[in-house]
């Protein structure tokens, strides 16, 4: 699974992307967040308040209950501020 980080989420995690192999109990965006948060202090800081985060699975916005699988591209970022 490829995980991408953008904006201050990227800055807190310290990397822009990583390949991860989460265990079987990671089935959706919410359980992936909990698992990623335990990877490093940077991850923990980035995921400290999941309400501040938005996610995309395979480049579509996704809610916390959206399923995730081994070959997915999952991205985490703050609410968007373009325009």
């Amino acid at each position: 699974m490829r995980v991408l980080y953008f904006a201050w989420v990227r800055q807190k995690v310290g990397i822009a992307e990583e390949d991860v192999a989460p265990p079987a109990e990671v089935r959706d965006v919410a359980t992936l967040v909990a698992w990623l948060a335990a990877r490093s202090p940077g991850h923990a800081a980035a995921f400290a308040d999941p309400k501040q985060l938005r996610a995309a699975v395979n480049q579509d916005f996704a809610t916390p209950d959206h399923p995730v699988a081994a070959n997915d591209e999952v991205a985490f970022f703050p609410p968007v501020t373009g325009g």
């Binding site: 904006a7 480049q59 579509d60 991205a75 609410p79 968007v80 373009g82």
Partner: protein
């Protein structure tokens, strides 16, 4: 099919507008929104980050939604990324239609939805080296929800 570009380079709003009427006589009006970088609180520059691939797809979907709701003869969305200085354009939305209401309404719709549904993030750089990420505004969500 809308023209959608995400690019670092500046764009030529006049040339883009002319392209929507070139060679055709069914266009009754072209509406435009040009977003420009403001210098609030001593801002030195705005740095725009995006999610390559998803951003273009998200804008194309929003444009397709506009084309489904209004009878457009043309639509152009160009959004810049990277470092942008105060006074420089950030985003251009153009909509062309046979009648003005469709052009004006779809243009407002496009920029409202783009602000809340396309993955861009703005970081403000200030004199002295401080920086801050722009936070999403509830007013923008409300503006998008009215459509």
């Amino acid at each position: 099919m809308a023209k959608v570009l995400v690019q670092q380079a500046p764009f030529d709003a006049g040339a883009e507008t002319a392209a929507l009427t070139a060679g055709r006589t069914d266009v009754g009006g072209v509406a435009s929104f040009l977003g420009v970088c403001r210098s609030d609180d001593g801002l030195d520059a705005m740095v725009l980050e995006h999610y390559p691939g998803m951003t273009e797809r998200a804008i194309e979907r929003i444009a397709a939604e506009a084309e489904g709701r209004w009878p457009l003869t043309g639509c152009t969305v160009i959004h810049r990324v990277g470092r942008i200085l105060p006074g420089e354009p950030i985003v251009l939305v153009l909509t062309a239609s046979s009648h003005r209401a469709a052009a004006l309404e779809s243009c407002a719709f496009l920029i409202d939805w783009l602000k809340t549904r396309a993955p861009f993030w703005k970081r403000e750089e200030f004199a002295g080296g401080t920086e801050r990420w722009v936070e999403a505004r509830a007013e923008d969500d409300a503006a998008a929800a009215r459509w």
